[in-house]
């Protein structure tokens, strides 16, 4: 029975490209993993993985790096999705970092990200012996990402050397690795934020409800709204808790994720709001503005 064409030619092309990349990663590497961060991009990536290996299941597990500071709703969503799809979900937390008391509030975003995300990811990849990891990063997110390859080579110790990237011509990916080296694979490289939301709408992909506007307890901090997801976030002098109609454009650790005031409660409204927006999605992320080229530095150290 033929199916009706739901996707625009543009989205159909992006979908086919991503499926090709997912299959390539599965075929070329010994032990791949899909880095699942619960956000909308991860959701699209997971959806594409389910399609790529149909009627089989994706031949790799999901890995979530849990900093213990994710929104509660994210964790609930993560567990229910993995269960629904019948996929193996690995959750890794940097126990050392936890023991050292690293957290986004006292330690600052830079150290927290370094220890609880970057180091944690390296630990997990080494622990399970993964030689390739799929991620949902897109080139339109940030300047240094714009130059990253689809198959991004990482040397021993997971370091990324932007000057030693493998040239990537046509779709002829160089997937060759030595022991100890690994590959990060970005099937959504050529997608934009618009494409992601258009695809979510077209394919009816579930996303964490935090993307939709709702009355939430927030506090004004560093020019953005931070949600009080639990009791761990102390208020600074002069700060007051307010209830605002807000939503998130990107999701991460809740003390580092800024919300925007919004009335968009469904996908159509989100897409309409985004098309009218005047700031990029990473604006809500406190980790990027630490220093110029901060993303490039983090990536060199092994950040995804």
């Amino acid at each position: 029975m033929p199916v009706k064409q739901r996707l625009t030619p543009h989205l159909a092309r992006l979908e086919a490209e991503a499926i090709g990349i997912l299959r390539e990663g599965a075929a070329a590497f010994r032990r791949p993993v899909l880095l699942y961060s619960i956000g909308k991009d991860s959701g699209v990536l997971l959806h594409l993985a389910m399609k790529a290996f149909f009627p089989g299941k994706p031949p790799f597990p999901l890995l979530h790096i849990d900093t213990t500071w994710k929104f509660k709703e994210m964790i609930r969503f993560r567990d229910s999705i993995a269960q629904q799809l019948g996929l193996e979900l690995l959750v890794h937390t940097n126990q050392e970092g936890l023991a050292r008391g690293i957290n986004p509030i006292a330690s600052g975003s830079a150290l927290h990200t370094q220890v609880m995300k970057t180091e944690a990811l390296r630990q997990a990849l080494d622990k399970y012996g993964f030689d390739a990891a799929f991620g949902g990063a897109r080139r339109d997110e940030e300047k240094s990402r714009a130059k990253e390859r689809i198959f991004s080579f990482r040397g021993a110790g997971h370091v990324w050397d932007p000057r030693a990237q493998r040239p990537e011509l046509w779709s002829l990916f160089n997937t060759r690795l030595h022991q100890g080296e690994s590959m990060r694979i970005f099937p959504l490289s050529n997608w934009t934020e618009y494409d992601v939301w258009d695809y979510i709408a077209a394919e009816d992909i579930p996303v964490v409800p935090l993307y939709f506007a709702a009355p939430r307890p927030v506090v004004r901090r560093a020019g953005t709204w931070i949600m009080l997801d639990d009791e761990r976030l102390p208020l600074n002098p002069g700060e007051v808790t307010e209830t605002k109609m807000v939503r998130f454009r990107t999701l991460g650790c809740y003390p580092l994720s800024g919300a925007v005031e919004s009335t968009a409660t469904n996908l159509a409204e989100i897409i309409a709001e985004m098309r009218a927006a005047r700031s990029s999605e990473r604006q809500g992320r406190l980790i990027d503005s630490d220093a110029e080229a901060s993303m490039e530095r983090k990536k060199r150290e092994g950040y995804f």
Partner: protein, 616 residues
């Protein structure tokens, strides 16, 4: 619901000085795609690294890596994404400097249109030619000639037209189907997204308008069916499917397909996708095929149209762009990836290098990083492929170093070489020296080079008569005569001329091995080829004889009526008229047939032969 949009992937070629990044920044800005926070970051960066004073330096938006911002150059390919209501765009912004040819080629490999940026105040420079040659080699057929910085030349239509004409002249020999020229100022925004009030003499579209409207519909669907198997999907004992992307053509259920490597035929049973089975799949679709019969197929095999199969060969000729820091070494083994297949490959010979600034062939023994050359390759096992000019997806390959795993080369296949795969040299007891002794003479190659009508054959004939009369064993090889037989398949393009000379050289060498004195009369216009001959037969046995008459004299003589035809445009690539003649810098003998008779010139040659110990 968003509108139906298709995608245009294009590349911008030019250097920082041409205003390339500024142009893209301007496009993104004018399309409302630079967000407020990005703009704020940009204005911060501009004050620190920028070159535009208080203005926002758009180049910084694209030069993303720290090293690039500090040096003010673009050292990698950056991809940018934007969309208008009419179309989505992916821009590959690539470096313009010669040492970054490989990055440009990377950007060009996935682009269907190139913007060649020219600084109007500087005119057409060698780098624009280089960029155009690389684009042409990578198969880009649509060109936008963006003549930038029109504000610096006072929006002068005459100077603009001169630049465009010069470019069209140069580009005539490249395989572009369309060249659209647009005068603009990226800094000021003239003709970038809307018509410029400063250039009312220009009636054409703005750059963005052209990008939105240009027709780059690929004809992949019209080509023969090709399906490289990427992954064998076996979730359980009941299902066995072959996952991959249709790279060209289309396939329907029930159709017969052929397994390229084994030649086996089999019927397509189902076209499986997660959204349900399809009756038909077209180029660009990622699907999973199930087949009516069990047949041995693995990742790397190619399923193809039985009526139009690809080439299967283990030797082929290809244009190679060297990407690796270590030079290419003929004879060394590399890993080769083509479509989904990996094998081992060796460059058996480097036929010639290609000057990226002019497209001219140059003699070369190796390829360094960013060098181009035509190579012959041999693979460990036969591979399935098409000519790159006919199908990029099945005609492109990469070479990977076996030890470092670096991607060291990009290759584009020209054609298969039909040779036995395991050729070894047989040794015979009677050698060249013995034959030379028996003949009582030293074998030599007398190579007469010069324009058509300069008198090569006439003089060679006189010399041969004298040698023959003196009892010498000799033979005359003549360009025209060889083209009736051995070289009948060759034309007069530069590439064919190189091959023509190579064959003549090999034949001459065999005759020298047989003990003969060989007199060869060939226009042989390229210095590199004559150098190749010198190396082929050995410098001590090679006499380069320049038969030198001015073009005017040759045209006046025109013994075969060829100049008349060439001037009438009836013969393309005619040496002296529409193809260059590179005169020898230091010929062994220089014969000025403008001034001296053929007999006198022949005596000059005989004199030299006597000096070399040839009795005549």
């Amino acid at each position: 619901m968003s509108a139906q949009r298709d995608l245009l992937r294009f590349i911008t070629c030019g250097s920082v000085d041409d205003g390339k990044s500024t142009l893209i920044g301007r496009l993104l800005h004018e399309c409302g795609l630079i967000f407020d926070d990005t703009l704020a970051a940009l204005s911060r960066d501009s004050r620190r690294h920028g070159t535009t004073g208080a203005d926002i330096d758009f180049a910084l938006l694209l030069d993303g890596l720290e090293a690039e911002r500090q040096q003010g150059i673009t050292i990698d390919v950056a991809y940018r994404y934007f969309a208008t209501p009419r179309r989505s765009f992916i821009v590959a912004d690539t470096p313009g400097h010669e040492q970054y040819t490989r990055n440009m080629a990377t950007g060009a490999s996935t682009a269907s249109l190139a913007i060649i940026l020219i600084d109007a105040s500087k005119g057409l420079l060698p780098q624009s030619k280089r960029h155009s040659l690389i684009c042409a080699l990578l198969g880009i057929r649509q060109i936008v000639l963006a003549v930038n910085k029109m504000d610096l030349i006072g929006f002068d239509a005459t100077r603009y037209t001169a630049i465009v004409d010069a470019y069209r002249d140069f580009a005539a020999k490249l395989d572009f189907t369309d060249i659209t020229a647009i005068p603009l100022s990226a800094r000021m925004g003239d003709n970038v997204t809307s018509a410029s009030g400063n250039m009312r003499w220009y009636q054409g579209p703005s750059l963005l308008q052209h990008l939105e409207e240009v027709d780059v519909l690929s004809d992949e669907a019209a080509k023969p069916f090709r399906f490289p198997v990427q992954w064998v999907n076996r979730p359980d004992a009941n299902f066995r499917g072959y996952a991959g992307t249709v790279v060209s053509g289309h396939i329907k259920t029930g159709q017969k397909i052929r397994v390229a490597s084994s030649g086996g035929h089999v019927q397509v049973q189902r076209i499986v996708t997660a959204d349900g089975d399809l009756l038909e799949a077209n180029a660009g679709q990622a699907v999973t095929l199930t087949l009516a019969d069990e047949i041995d197929i693995a990742r790397g095999d190619m399923l193809v149209a039985p009526e139009a199969p690809p080439e299967i060969a283990d030797q082929f000729a290809a244009d190679i762009l060297w990407l690796g820091a270590e030079p290419m070494l003929p004879g060394r083994d590399y890993l080769l990836r083509i479509a989904q297949d990996w094998t081992q490959a060796r460059v058996t010979s480097l036929r010639h290098g290609i000057d990226v600034n002019t497209g001219n062939h140059v003699a070369a023994r190796t390829l360094q990083i960013n060098d181009l050359g035509l190579c012959h390759l041999a693979t460990l096992k036969p591979i399935a492929f098409d000519k790159y000019s006919e199908n990029q997806a099945t005609g492109a390959f990469i070479l990977v170093d076996r030890f470092t795993h670096e991607t060291v080369a990009a290759g584009m296949i020209r054609h298969a070489l039909r040779r036995a795969s395991n050729i070894q040299r047989a040794d015979f007891t009677i050698g060249r020296t013995a034959r030379a002794e028996r003949n009582g003479q030293r074998p030599l190659l007398l190579w007469f080079t010069g324009l058509s009508g300069s008198g090569k054959s006439t003089i060679a004939d006189l010399v041969e008569q004298a040698l023959f009369a003196a009892g010498r064993h000799c033979y005359s090889l003549d360009g025209d005569n060889l083209r009736h037989g051995l070289c009948r398949d060759l034309g007069f393009t530069a590439a064919d001329r190189v091959e023509n000379i190579r064959r003549a050289g090999e034949v001459a060498k065999l005759m020298m091995d047989a003990g003969l004195i060989v007199l060869a009369s060939f226009i042989s216009p390229f210095r590199a080829d004559r150098q190749m001959l010198r190396e082929l037969v050995g410098a001590e046995d090679f006499l380069e004889i320049h038969v030198d008459a001015s073009l005017e004299t040759c045209i006046a003589r025109d013994p075969k009526g060829l100049y008349a035809k060439a001037k009438a445009g009836l013969i393309p690539n005619f040496t002296g008229i529409s193809s260059p003649y590179e005169a020898p810098a230091q010929p062994d003998i220089h014969l000025k047939t403008d001034e001296f008779t053929a007999a006198h010139c022949a005596e000059q040659v005989l004199h030299m032969l006597r000096a070399k110990g040839i009795a005549c």
